[in-house]
């Protein structure tokens, strides 16, 4: 049975290898940032994080989730910094003591996209008028339905438009991230609300096009917060705060502004005057 034993030992050793900390992990300081799929999938982090690391040596690990889930991750203490876009929820997060302080960082805007044929004739209308037209026509509308920042913004827009789509046969709640929702919308020839950053970097547009944009109510503010070390002692407060400080510094703001896809700027820094 010696050979069996040896096989087991080999397997055990290999398993242990998997659990052994990598040398690189101990050499550089890393923080975990809970953020949204829209920021991660737009490629913004891929652009700015190397700049931050070059400056401070701190490695940032981004977990991309919906805003609701990202805030929950912060509450549980599983992230050091939360970087999301749902101002009201963020303020609540800080008020309840889970975050130290909220800083506005940047904004982009939402757009309503839909089939080029535009059955509801929503093109060029304001957000409220456009949604009303969609509801009146009963044109298919795909909702994130995942409690994300975008989903919350969408619900607020429906409310402002004075319409209640909930339970309507043309209103599809997908329960998916932004990308999958756009994939589905392209297939369903549905209208949907998306942030501009995800839209610009999205590749499977099919027949979809931007129909409603530029309305003040479509404004999408991002905020960043350090998770409160008094709630979770293991939070890397110093490194986390360094990231927050860098994002709202001139250097960080310039890095955000310089991120472009096909010459188009995706995010607009507004740490000084943002909400």
């Amino acid at each position: 049975m010696d050979i069996t034993k040896r096989l087991f030992l080999l397997a055990a050793a290999f398993a242990a290898l998997g659990f052994a900390p990598k040398a690189a992990d101990t050499a550089t300081e890393t923080i975990v940032v809970a953020s949204t799929t829209s920021t991660e999938q737009s490629g913004l982090f891929g652009h700015i994080l190397p700049l931050f690391k070059a400056k401070t040596g701190i490695e940032v690990k981004v977990v991309a989730q919906g805003t609701g889930q990202a805030l929950d991750t912060g509450k549980r203490g599983d992230a050091d910094v939360v970087f999301v876009h749902a101002a009201a929820d963020e303020k609540k997060f800080v008020d309840e003591g889970f975050g130290v302080r909220r800083f506005p960082v940047m904004y982009n805007d939402f757009v309503i996209v839909g089939p080029k044929s535009d059955p509801a004739s929503a093109k060029g209308l304001s957000a409220a008028e456009g949604l009303k037209a969609i509801a009146a026509k009963g044109a298919t509308f795909a909702s994130r339905g995942d409690n994300s920042g975008t989903h919350k913004a969408e619900l607020a827009l429906w409310k402002a438009a004075g319409a209640d789509p909930k339970g309507q046969p043309w209103y599809r709640e997908l329960g998916s991230g932004m990308g999958p929702t756009l994939n589905a919308s392209a297939q369903l020839a549905a209208y949907t609300l998306t942030d501009r950053g995800t839209w610009i970097s999205f590749k499977n547009r099919g027949d979809l096009a931007i129909l409603v944009e530029g309305d003040k109510t479509l404004f999408n503010q991002y905020g960043v917060m350090l998770v409160n070390p008094q709630k979770h002692a293991h939070v890397k407060a110093k490194a986390g705060q360094a990231f927050v400080d860098w994002l709202i510094s001139d250097e960080g703001q310039a890095a955000i502004a310089s991120y472009k896809i096909s010459g188009e700027q995706l995010f607009f820094p507004n740490a000084k005057d943002g909400a």
């Binding site: 049975m1 050979i3 069996t4 034993k5 087991f8 397997a11 055990a12 290999f14 398993a15 290898l17 998997g18 659990f19 975990v32 799929t37 999938q41 982090f45 891929g46 690990k61 981004v62 977990v63 991309a64 509450k75 549980r76 203490g77 599983d78 998916s176 991230g177 932004m178 990308g179 999958p180 756009l182 994939n183 970097s201 999205f202 590749k203 499977n204 547009r205 979770h232 293991h234």
Partner: protein
């Protein structure tokens, strides 16, 4: 159609030796092989013990194990997430959003597969050996080891079944790993990400590479087992 683009994307990635792809492949291999190793260390003896031991409730344990083979990865992932969260009972470990959590998640998913299939394989063998072993006074531990060793070629297939499930898994590792670029991004979570970014050719290209790796791995294992069987008889 996306398929031709997917093939050319896959070839371009491989030919260019894309650094990010190499990292992702390396992490996928580390996570999956470690999980399979953990599952083998736990699942093989567990399956052997179940094949040999007769105790009240054995049937229930076997049914439970068989049912766990179909455990939805998302459920396993979520349960592990809550355990490993800083606010959970195992939060002190600091494993969440690291490869360790991903290995644990996959191991949890494939231990029932390895244990259950091992038990089925060894059941028949034990029926043949039992009387002779009892005549020889073979201890329980030696009997388990002897069964595992004598069934080694069949058990290779059991391990490959576990490997298949682990390498194809995305739900659990996405939740506990966080799909962090350069840290916890594996082939499957990268495919899920590219799909949600709408880059279907890249997603499909990555899928083709994953399939190719699995074919090579399975082929190599099959050939090795065939060779070993011929040598060992």
């Amino acid at each position: 159609m996306d398929a031709p683009t997917a093939f050319s994307t896959a070839f371009a990635l491989i030919l260019n030796g894309d650094a990010a792809l190499v990292d992702i492949l390396r992490l996928s291999a580390l996570v999956t092989l470690s999980a399979v190793a953990v599952a083998a260390v736990i699942g093989l003896p567990l399956g052997a013990a179940l094949a040999l031991a007769r105790f009240p409730g054995r049937g229930a344990v076997i049914v439970a194990l068989n049912a766990l083979m179909g455990l939805p990865p998302v459920v396993a992932g979520l349960a592990l997430y809550l355990l490993l969260s800083r606010s959970g009972p195992l939060g002190e470990l600091g494993w969440l959003f690291t490869p360790k959590a991903m290995i644990a998640a996959q191991a949890i998913l494939i231990i029932p597969i390895v244990a259950s299939l091992t038990r089925q394989t060894l059941d028949d063998l034990w029926r043949e050996y039992e009387e002779q072993f009892r005549s020889l006074g073979v201890s329980m531990g030696s009997a388990m080891a002897a069964l595992l060793w004598d069934a080694r070629f069949s058990l290779v297939t059991v391990i490959l079944a576990g490997l298949g499930r682990a390498s194809a898994e995305v739900g659990a590792v996405l939740i506990v790993g966080g799909n962090i670029a350069g840290h916890t991004r594996t082939m499957t979570t990268a495919i899920a990400l590219e799909t949600s970014k709408g880059d279907l050719p890249l997603a499909l290209g990555l899928g083709l590479i994953l399939i190719a790796v699995m074919v090579i791995l399975n082929g190599a294992t099959f050939a090795a087992a065939l060779w070993a069987r011929r040598v060992a008889g």
